[in-house]
Symmetry: C2
């Protein structure tokens, strides 16, 4: 791991060309870095604002080599990049976050095993390779429960909620469709968590092991997609401290470099007030509020971490509510443009699709004005 | 003049590829706009972050046509674009700010005539075509005085300070070298202004005639180049209101659309407390502080104005001191990276030259903490 700061005018390679890569590119420029985007599509949100890009499949080793030769460090915008791609690139150049972090977050079973190994509590869970496994797990964990593919699911995709035994056929189908037939099964059953609220802890770590933690956000979902984040979250100082400590334990255990999103459930009705839902080895939608309410955004923080610059301040000058602009909802942007406290962030996507994240808006409020009493 | 908002994914054309165009591009992206840069150089600060670019001379009509065909509106990053270029493009597509604004600010004589016509006070001045004109003007305005080329000068270039008659030879040389021999002479003599401080008023106007004015900054120069801007400026509410009113009169008279920088001298030793030094028909170095101390930066404000979006709020959440990183001074960026309240903005310039603006840093402080008592 290199520890000298990346010199100005160096090139940061980013795998993936979506909105997270776009906003990473926008944050890299003021630090003096250029970005080179590698993705399979020849257009995309990040390509509008990058210095250069390479169109290639994640398995195309010749193109990946070409990519590695053009850049000074590599990062990625999402956890579904094949681990083999990262392993290949890592032989040529530093990739941050590291392979272990990617692999841990790519597989819900590996992830939950890891989280428990560092002292975090997760939902109860069971590995599901066969219908028989599912039957056994449902008996053990009880209903309601949720069956998920171990890999590749996001925003509610690849999931079946099992409320009653009437939902079992759909669950069996998910198992059948995702069973590899090898010794690595592809589903996990998670016990239902009756949580009061979901918060995110956006945490950064540098190669020297320093960490910096943004104020936790309180998240609200709609159709399994993040709808809004409110900062500060309505949590006690004690819960806040414990959630931050857990995020810290999680990031250190991975020897992680960059920004990590930690989705966390807060409960008041059980023995364990904090349950870790999942981790994302990247900048996270629930951290977009940092762009306008903090001096340093999560995007700049990620670039600083992977470029071996000192981590930036997580100081916050405003309270804020982030709203995602999803699908047709992007039309709201023109209304928000009239609103004095609204900062608009559109992603430059041409085609509007149901459930597609088209942009977000940060609504800013004076510091401490959102705290409910 | 079109007055419908420019649709998301439209392309904004920018003449010039320097740091101002770079920061305009970075501000255009979150509003959903792509930028196309037109400049004579095949690299440059803006090209790192734009969607597309065309390398061409400002006189190349074939390439300018190609540029106009690719974009939905055109703006420019500096006032030394030939007026003929803007006039040509304006036949094809809207250019904001308009030709009158460009021409007014391109020529110090036209500019001073205009400023006086809208009720602003300027330094006393005289048009200088010949050595005889200079002799006469020196007798009339007295010494010290400053001789400047009417066009193309910036950051102290194309100027001769005349403190005593011993400086006259150098002044005669400037007249000789800049006299066109036609009826349009190329120098202006300006009487010396003994001012207390220089402030900038960064003002925006949209096509409907709405204006929005950022908090005036207090500027300090070093070797004729802006060194720092401090916000708020140490001026009385009365002076602040009058300076803002003058900026408003100036921008309305030009039927201006976009952001305008108004450099203003404040004096306590004369009859006229506010003297307008010059105007710049573009985003301005003394407005860079808005990037981090305001919800909406001057760059976003300019994009909003030329895209017919509503002007954004000029609310400020922090006090701030902007320091330019000039020449070797760019090396300070690595120190600033360690400072919690410092926001770094590097321009991606490869070559360090004496006097070259390489970047700037905004040092943020809590609101009202910089007011001296």
């Amino acid at each position: 791991m290199q520890t000298r700061p990346l010199a100005p005018n160096s090139v940061i390679g980013i795998l993936g060309g979506g909105q997270l890569a776009r906003m990473l590119s926008l944050a890299a420029a003021p630090l003096g870095y250029k970005t080179c985007i590698y993705c399979p599509e020849d257009n995309g949100p990040a390509i509008d604002v990058c210095h250069s890009h390479i169109v290639g499949d994640y398995g195309d080793q010749a193109k990946l080599k070409q990519f590695a030769a053009k850049v000074d460090v590599i990062t990625y915008e999402f956890e579904n990049i094949p681990a083999s791609t990262i392993a290949f690139l890592n032989q040529l150049i530093t990739v941050s976050p590291n392979l272990k972090s990617l692999q841990t977050s790519q597989d819900r079973l590996v992830e939950k095993d890891y989280l428990n190994s560092v002292g975090a509590t997760t939902a109860p869970y069971a590995n599901i390779a066969t219908k028989q496994d599912l039957d056994n797990a449902v008996r053990k964990l009880g209903l309601p429960a949720i069956l998920k593919t171990r890999t590749m699911g996001y925003d509610g995709k690849g999931q079946v909620g099992i409320k009653t035994m009437a939902d079992m056929q759909q669950a069996y189908d998910l198992v059948s469709n995702n069973s590899s037939g090898l010794d690595k099964p592809n589903c996990i059953l998670e016990g239902f968590i009756n949580f009061d609220l979901e918060i995110s802890v956006i945490i950064a770590r540098d190669a020297a092991g320093n960490v910096a933690i943004f104020e936790p956000s309180e998240n609200a979902h709609k159709n399994h997609i993040l709808n809004s984040s409110t900062i500060p979250a309505q949590i006690s100082p004690d819960i806040r401290a414990k959630a931050c400590q857990l995020a810290s334990d999680i990031i250190h255990g991975l020897d992680y470099v960059g920004v990590l999103g930690v989705e966390t459930f807060i409960t008041t009705n059980g023995n364990t007030p904090i349950i870790i839902n999942e981790i994302a080895p990247r900048v996270h939608n629930s951290g977009h509020w940092t762009q306008d309410a903090c001096y340093i955004s999560q995007f700049e923080q990620h670039i600083r971490a992977i470029a071996n610059l000192p981590l930036g301040s997580v100081a916050r000058h405003s309270d804020v509510v982030m709203h995602n602009l999803i699908g047709d909802g992007v039309a709201l942007a023109s209304d928000y443009a009239k609103q004095a406290n609204a900062k608009i962030h559109l992603y430059g996507k041409q085609e509007i699709k149901t459930g597609r994240k088209m942009g977000h808006v940060n609504l800013l409020f004076p510091l401490d004005s959102l705290i409910k009493t």
